[in-house]
Amino acid sequence: MMGLLEWILNLLLSPWLFVPLIYPGLISAFAVLLFIIWLERKLAAKVQLRYGPLYVLKQLGGVIQLVADLLRYLSAEPIVPDQADRLAFIFGPILLFASSYMATVAIPISYNFYAFRSEISLLVVLALTAMAPVFNLVIGWGSNNKFGLIGGLREGFLITADEIPLFVSALAMAILYGTMDLVRMVELQSRWLWGIVLNPLAAITFFVLMLLSTSRFPFEIVEAESEIVMGPFTEYSGILYGLTMGASYVKLYVLSLLFAILFLGGWEPLPPLEFPGSWLILPAAVLFLKALVMMGLSVFMRSVYPRYRIDQALRLAWHYLFPASILSVFLSFVVLMGWFI
């Protein structure tokens, strides 16, 4: 009996199962989803002189409100419109959510705990996250709704405008560290300085583009409620809607983890504590906290900014953020030269 338990525990703790399934993969992605939406509503409520979610588990300020919401989504009927493309309509949200969280497999938790270590793990993360918005286009087209179509097209315009500078500013860090291996990047940061100090321009550009590509305020353009109802997701109901709504938060989670690794020193510095399992829990917790701060900052923008128009967002991305990301590459070279001189 004990042997079986130990076998299961070992299996779960093996990196190639733990990373995609537990942390930073599926289970923690769901937990983050539930927590960050609650946090967003609570932060906005604080600014707006309200209580926010409160009554579900009142002792902890309604922290499991989103569990109740999830149950409601699960029990609601997902209605598929007659005129919609059934295949695209049903599989769109599933693939959107799946591809959003898939990139977590390439994110390492510590120096020796990762699903796989690769020379190009940065590229893997970026490529997988860039896949998700394509399904927004599919959804917008498949739901056969004018608002959905406009929302899908907006997403199409924004993909090219945000993913390219996002890639470039991430690659600026790769140039700076001389590697695309995320584990090695953290190692170098613990020896030098955090990425945000070495190349602040890339950090700022990356953060703004993170908001843009996950449609957070002030770039909540794809779902702009007062303009196009819910953009590509207008026709959705039930758990299919839940998936579409969760996908952008999961993408935010992945990009926040990446931000923490690229710019905030990843799981460094570790607190000098020793307890059973600390080799896994401590670095995971440090990385998680840093990502959580970034996520909190991103969702807080809701209470500060209205939303930009799409042409203004595109102008911002192409005229300012794209040149800024190119400049950050040069800044990386300058820092490197300064280092060697």
Binding site: A44, V47, Q48, L49, R50, K146, F147, L149, I150, F217, P218, E220, I221, A224, E225, S226, E227, I228, V229, R302, S303, V304, Y305, P306, R307, Y308, R309, I310, D311, Q312
Partner: protein
């Protein structure tokens, strides 16, 4: 591609988060709105026809319903027309109390408009703040009149209640709070770079167009026309009040919002003046006051309110017609009554500010972006039930 193929007809509303009780039929070419036609009438409540079946006093609650948020000004417009028909005039204190409630209503109506505009641009903070700060004036109006929004406070010949005890101090507290609050709105909303980008130069209404189209209210004053019924054709206590007509030259969406903000500040000053200068005296016209039985007089003095005399309930104005206009929060409101000597009006006509501003949808929302539709709509402070009546 032919012309029709790349133009998409977008039906915004009536089931749409930001359409209000109306439908906007937009023709969209890519992201550019080629033309937009407002389809109004979804909340038409036959106020004018219904009024012909009601006693004069019963029409007071009726005229308050369509322009919700801006109830007192419309109540005042109707009562002024009725008083002209009856040939009476309210005593001075009643006139000042009417002005007080009209300005309080203007403040909370403007906050309502600013809040709705905020959420249309995506700023939920502006929405929540405005709806909370509006609550302060509503609470004070409730202490004065007994109702939150549909006050039915002004009756022919006077008002229903006098100031409650301690009202001046509470009001002063509220006004100080509002004055502290307006800079916060500037920080989070009006001076926000995103708001500026969304509103500046969007939906520009030129001065000559504004005059030609017969626009009223803050939308007209934002285009640089200093037209305000309170100055042009003063009524109640306005001739004795010192206030400015807020105008702007730009005529864009931001100017329209800033005119409302300026008017909130002016209203705050006016309420201070009103409470300082308000004369003493009765709050109902002498003729009706005499009809109240003596046993009610003590009760009236004790509760500082009016016992409605029976004569008011079945008013029979002489044959004739009367018209009155007031500056409501959204613009000039005109009330017109034709009486044939019976207890019910022969014809009743309301020209609300929103119906006069509805033409702006077609005029302003053209060759702009899809995202500009809610930005311009919100800046007009257009309220469909008020237009449909």
């Amino acid at each position: 591609m032919s012309e029709e193929e790349h133009i998409l007809e977008l039906l915004i509303g009536p089931q749409h988060p930001a359409s209000g009780h109306m439908r906007l039929v937009a023709k969209v070419d890519g992201d550019v709105v080629v033309s937009l036609r407002p389809d109004i009438g979804y909340v038409h409540r036959t106020v004018e026809k219904l009024a012909e079946t009601k006693n004069y006093i019963q029409i007071i609650p009726l005229v308050e319903r369509p322009p919700l948020a801006d109830t007192a000004n419309h109540n005042l417009g109707y009562v002024l027309a009725l008083e002209r028909l009856l040939g009476i005039e309210a005593p001075p204190r009643a006139q000042w109390l009417r002005t007080l409630l009209a300005e309080m209503t203007r403040i909370h109506s403007h906050f309502y408009g600013i809040g709705i505009h905020g959420i249309m641009l995506g700023s939920s903070t502006a929405f929540m703040w405005a709806f909370w700060d509006r609550e302060i004036m509503i609470e004070l109006a409730q202490r004065l009149t007994g109702a939150r929004l549909t006050y039915s406070y002004m009756i022919p010949g006077g008002v229903r209640r006098d100031l409650p005890p301690g009202f001046e101090d509470e009001m002063e507290k509220a006004l100080r709070y509002l004055e502290r609050r307006i800079p916060d709105y500037h920080k989070i909303f009006f001076d926000n770079p995103v708001t500026k980008a969304r509103l500046e130069g969007v939906g520009v209404l030129r001065k000559e167009d504004a005059i030609r189209l017969g626009i009223v209210g803050p939308n007209l004053r934002a285009s640089g026309v200093p037209y305000d019924v309170r100055k042009v054709d003063p009524y109640c206590a306005y001739p004795e009040l010192d206030f400015n007509v807020i105008t702007r030259e730009e005529g864009d969406s931001l100017a329209r919002v800033m005119v409302r903000v300026g008017e909130i500040k002016e209203s705050i000053n006016m309420i201070r003046q009103i409470l300082k200068k308000m004369p003493d005296g009765p709050i109902l016209e002498e003729r009706y006051l005499k009809m109240i039985p003596p046993k009610w007089k003590d009760w009236m003095a004790q509760h500082r309110r009016i016992k409605l005399p029976a004569a008011l309930i079945s008013l029979r104005p002489p044959k004739g017609e009367a018209v009155a206009r007031v500056e409501a929060a959204r613009g000039e409101a005109v009330y017109y009554i034709v009486s044939d000597g019976s207890p019910k009006p022969y014809r009743f006509r309301v020209v609300s500010p929103s119906i006069r501003n509805v033409v702006l949808f077609e005029h302003l929302i053209r060759n702009c972006r899809v995202a500009d539709i809610p930005a311009i709509y919100g800046s007009l402070d257009y309220f469909p039930p008020e237009a449909d009546r």
